[in-house]
């Protein structure tokens, strides 16, 4: 009953906006006619073919970890020179709308999300695969992606004529309060480890401060490198934090994700997943709202939206606290519907103001320019039919994309049963290139490796990873808009109604889970009951290391100009506080003493809360084995980099694949050679020839210039 009421309220809201603005019937007719014209425009077979081409490329590139829409959109751009604007935009949008559809495949099947946008999907999708429900998870992800995408397109179509004045009202204080609200999700996303989560979030914000400071131009924590001048790039960071740890565990476990091939539900699972989406239609609707609305806000990227939506589902769905993170299909649905509805929302500021809300949209704006289209009021009057053709493009692309995925999906689910020596070399090569595509610099590869080790440590010590990425993405938004708000409005902005509401919501979102956690552990008495004499525990390693790092970072920050250091100092102090508290807990906490009733109860309840991570499948191994095999894994990665430095990236690919397969798995040479050859040709064709990635060169190439005929040397 309640859900029906909310659904009706949401729909009424849409209807009201439509009715309120074009009050005259003429207006409504005008918009409908333009929408109709736009549909006829797109339905032209010639345009559909280009749209289809964009969709195919989006799906293909979306599967590869790290290779995002940006590289691909840039690749498509030159093809659009000779197309008319509707066709060109149809192709680009077909591409942009579907990269996120296939993105979850590696997240669900391997647990290694290729992009930050599917990180939340892995949390429930991967356990489902391990249980033999990979097909169902995939089916649910495509279907919810399609429903979300269609919803985003609808919302775009409905609100487009009336949204401009509303968006114009979103100024610095509003953006700031939205970022604060997003950041408050950290508490939910920290699961049962709030101190660790808060530490990670503060660390994420500190990472976001790296680079030239927008207030004074001070170079913060750049270690004098040019690479860090513009700040860390998101792609290598998320690949390192989310994807590498899972792949590392795959190698440590020395097995396939799913050993028993008979368990794969490739056939019936897909449709079970589709049914799940319809059973949870209300969840899809809510999460699509979140995705589309948040997508329209510049600065709140896809990588935040999926977590906000996931957090929302976790707090509102029945029984979610017990089952989420352990393979609940609703987790997949929540994350995927929001991620895909975002594209429609993201188009709104792009069309009406020329403010791109994602890197992909920035390229789309380039296409606008090339076709003489000016974002702004013209797109809502003179060129409205083009705006509507974009709405249709997104809708059709989502239908096509999900349809194609269904056709080819049986094979994807079976990937989980492959030996790790077949999966790892291929995926790792793509991850290296995906990370390198971030800024096309060695710095990308170093940060991939560093954050890979950090992410793995987080995973092994059960530290939640999402707060770190959330802090990283929202940190700089937070700082910049705080300064603008204060400089412009002094403190008056704090009294704006929207800001006050968002801050209040943020406070509730932040404090409630923390308070619940506090109570769950039996309050102050329960917390103190377990304390004893300090003792060195392995869990203390990570907070100890982080504490040292924070100390060094804060020491450097002290020397900066006041405006450059104020936010880093506040956040850094928070990080040190939470981290120290965690460290004390780690070395002083004992198992609850029997007889203290409260503590036992606390522990029993404590077990129920969600741990915000994919469960490790290597727990049966001794910690020494884990450490040794983990080191071997990262040794391979370092080896890749050394080889790349010596002989260039493309020649490294066959070398890396062959040696990894032979040394780790003693695969037959027939498989090794065919794999190495196919991958090398694929990487050469796609990345060297099509995507024109400027390789960094190599030592051999520098010593013997003649060798430069070998690509990337």
């Amino acid at each position: 009953m309640k859900r029906q009421l909310i659904a009706i309220a949401l729909l009424a809201l849409v209807a009201a906006t439509v009715v309120a603005a074009p009050a005259r019937a003429d207006d409504a007719n005008f918009y409908l006619q333009q929408a109709g014209d736009a549909f006829l425009l797109i339905a032209d077979p010639h345009r559909l073919i280009f749209l289809f081409g964009g969709v195919c490329m989006g799906l293909a590139l979306g599967i590869l970890p790290g290779i995002g829409g940006v590289a691909g959109t840039a690749l498509l751009l030159p093809f659009t020179y000779n197309l008319d604007s509707a066709t060109a935009l149809a192709m680009l949008l077909g591409f942009a709308a579907t990269t996120t559809t296939t993105d979850p495949i590696s997240a669900i099947v391997l647990g290694a999300p290729g992009h930050a946008a599917s990180a939340a999907t892995a949390l429930d999708g991967f356990p489902m695969t391990k249980r033999g429900e990979g097909g169902r998870a995939l089916g649910a992800s495509y279907m919810s992606a399609m429903m979300g995408g269609l919803f985003g397109a609808c919302l775009l179509g409905v609100t487009l004529p009336v949204i401009r004045p509303l968006i114009l009202q979103i100024g610095a204080p509003e953006l700031l309060s939205l970022a604060v609200f997003g950041l408050s999700m950290v508490a939910t996303l920290s699961g049962n480890t709030p101190l660790r989560g808060l530490t990670a979030a503060c660390f994420g914000v500190m990472l976001a401060m790296i680079g030239g400071d927008p207030q004074t131009g001070t170079m913060r924590w750049t270690m004098n490198s040019l690479y860090l001048m513009d700040g860390l790039s998101l792609v290598p960071l998320t690949l390192g934090i989310y994807a590498l740890p899972e792949l590392c565990d795959l190698m440590i476990g020395r097995s396939a994700v799913l050993e028993n091939a008979a368990l794969v539900d490739a056939k019936g699972g897909l449709f079970a997943g589709v049914k799940d989406c319809f059973d949870n239609w209300f969840l899809v609707l809510r999460c699509s709202w979140i995705g589309a609305a948040m997508g329209a806000v510049p600065g709140i990227g896809a990588s935040v939206i999926d977590w906000i939506s996931y957090g929302h589902a976790l707090r509102t769905e029945k029984g979610a606290q017990e089952t989420f993170g352990k393979g609940d299909v609703r987790g997949v649905i929540a994350a995927e519907s929001a991620t895909n509805s975002r594209e429609g929302g993201a188009l709104i500021p792009t069309i009406v103001f020329g403010v791109p809300s994602s890197p992909g949209m920035a390229i789309l704006l380039g296409a606008f320019l090339m076709h003489g289209l000016v974002p702004g009021p013209d797109m809502l009057t003179k060129n409205l039919y083009i705006s509507y053709s974009m709405v249709w493009s997104i809708a059709i692309a989502n239908l096509l994309g999900s349809g194609l995925c269904f056709m080819f999906s049986r094979q994807f689910a079976k990937l989980a049963t492959l030996r790790y020596t077949l999966i790892l070399p291929v995926v790792l090569c793509f991850i290296f290139i995906g990370a390198f595509d971030g800024k096309r610099d060695w710095g990308d590869l170093y940060s991939l490796l560093i954050f890979g080790v950090l992410g793995w440590a987080f995973k092994q010590f059960k530290w939640p990873r999402p707060p770190l990425v959330l802090g990283f993405i929202l940190g700089s938004v937070l700082e910049r808009y705080t300064f603008i708000s204060i400089q412009r409005y002094d403190m008056a902005w704090l009294t704006q109604p929207f800001v006050m509401v968002m801050f209040a919501l943020a406070a509730v979102t932040l404090i409630r889970p923390l308070f619940q956690d506090f109570r769950r552990r039996g309050g102050a008495a329960g917390l103190m009951a377990g304390f004893g004499r300090p003792r060195m525990a392995p869990q203390a390693i990570l907070p100890a290391v982080l504490l040292c790092l924070f100390t060094v970072m804060l020491g450097q920050a002290l020397t900066w100009n006041l405006y450059a250091k104020i936010v880093p100092l506040i956040v850094g102090a928070g990080a040190m506080l939470f981290c120290s508290m965690n460290l004390i807990t780690e070395i002083c906490r004992r198992a609850p003493v029997a007889g203290i009733d409260l503590a036992i109860k606390a522990k029993a309840k404590f077990g129920n809360a969600v741990h915000m991570d994919v469960a490790s499948n290597v727990q049966h191994l001794s910690s020494n084995t884990i450490l040794l095999r983990g080191s071997i894994f990262f040794g391979w990665l370092v080896g890749f980099l050394i080889s790349m430095y010596l002989i260039g990236l493309i020649p490294t690919v066959p070398l890396f694949i062959a040696s990894l397969m032979w040394i780790e798995g003693r695969e037959s040479w027939k498989i090794i050679i065919s794999m190495a050859v196919i991958m090398t040709l694929l990487i050469y064709g796609v990345f060297d020839q099509l995507l024109e990635i400027p390789w960094p060169g190599s030592l051999m190439g520098a010593l013997i210039p003649a060798l430069k005929v070998v690509p990337s040397m």
Partner: protein
């Protein structure tokens, strides 16, 4: 097995070494070759689209009609790309750099970070100059340049080091204006919407071409007051808006404006790394100049709403030499003005 592989590798090496040693002056050098144009900004940005337009039309004017392939190497305001070309080339005339307009002046303004000498590059030309303007939104009390000398105007900017920040700051120091620069915006469009919303009072630097293409109505309907213009020459049709360098009082102030105007005069520059054979530099400079007259190119640029006001490579080089001969105390003063926020 092993021996055979080594022999094979050696044979390959020898085979590849031969063409490399045969690089003599050759008017038909570019026939069948691929030129890589490395753009120092992300794909889709204005500078990238401009470079791609050039890459499309320039091959027709290079003897041998090579292919030009565009690659993007963004980062540190084109500096990563520039340093890469400086260090690893290639030095055979097959790699062209395309950068932001302020690349040549960066070593003068920010010597701590920009460790290179722009005079060493082989500049092949710039496709356009930039005329820019500072405006206030029509509701603001500041309506003219005179008002600006007595009343404060809040203007938006991305960060120190961008023209939106540097030029108003310079005007405050040299022309007695009262810009208050609020930094932290994501881009120009965000600042324009902030002005429309009333969050800032205007902007201290925006290219006329951007204003005309993005918000032509604002000019027509007098939604903005034009206060001060930037550029080597005045924007045609806007003679009544005072130009910054005309207002400079002392010869030293004029020298400072001259350094800044290098960037404005050659806003979209292209260059080859150092040590490229002179005949190839000459071929590309000639081809560049001719492309600037190509109807197809002009048409493509017009569609993109980019102005084509070319400057040849030779002219650029001499302007850069001039800027680099500015007396050190003048440069030190300029740096002090621009870095006032950092200290």
């Amino acid at each position: 097995m092993k021996i055979r592989f080594i022999a094979w590798a050696a044979a390959c090496l020898v085979a590849m070494a031969v063409p490399a040693s045969a690089q003599a002056a050759d008017p038909n050098f570019y026939a069948g070759k691929t030129i890589y144009m490395i753009v120092g900004v992300a794909p889709g940005a204005g500078y990238d689209l401009n470079a791609r337009a050039l890459a499309r039309y320039m091959p027709a004017y290079i003897p041998g009609h090579p292919t030009i392939v565009v690659e993007n190497q963004p980062g540190a305001a084109s500096m990563i790309m520039a340093l890469k070309l400086l260090k690893t080339g290639t030095f055979d005339g097959l790699t062209i750099g395309a950068s932001f307009g302020d690349l040549p002046t960066m070593p003068l303004l920010d010597p701590d970070r920009a460790h290179f000498d722009a005079r060493k590059f082989n500049w092949i030309g710039s496709t356009s100059s930039v005329n820019a303007v500072a405006f206030s939104w029509y509701t603001q009390p500041v309506k003219t340049f005179k008002d600006l000398q007595t009343t404060q105007l809040l203007v938006g900017a991305q960060a120190p080091g961008t023209t939106q920040y540097d030029l108003p700051t310079l005007a405050n120091a040299l022309l007695g204006t009262h810009f208050k620069v609020v930094t932290g915006y994501d881009g120009t469009v965000q600042i324009l919407t902030a002005a429309e919303r009333g969050e800032v009072g205007g902007i201290g630097f925006i290219a006329f071409s951007s204003l005309l293409s993005l918000d032509a109505d604002w000019l027509k309907q007098h939604r903005v007051n034009l206060l001060l213009q930037w550029g080597v020459t005045k924007q045609p049709g806007y003679n009544n808006v005072p130009a910054a360098h005309d207002l400079a009082k002392t010869p030293e102030d004029k020298q400072i404006f001259k350094v800044i105007e290098l960037h404005l005069a050659a806003d979209r520059p292209f260059f080859l790394p150092p040590n490229v054979p002179a005949d190839r530099v000459a071929i590309l400079r000639r081809a560049f100049d001719e492309t600037m007259k190509d109807p197809g190119f002009l048409d493509a640029e017009k569609k993109l709403q980019f102005d084509v006001e070319p400057m040849s490579g030779a002219e650029m080089s001499s302007m850069i030499d001039d800027a680099y001969s500015t007396p050190q105390p003048v440069l030190a003063r300029l740096r002090k003005i621009l870095n006032s926020a950092e200290n």
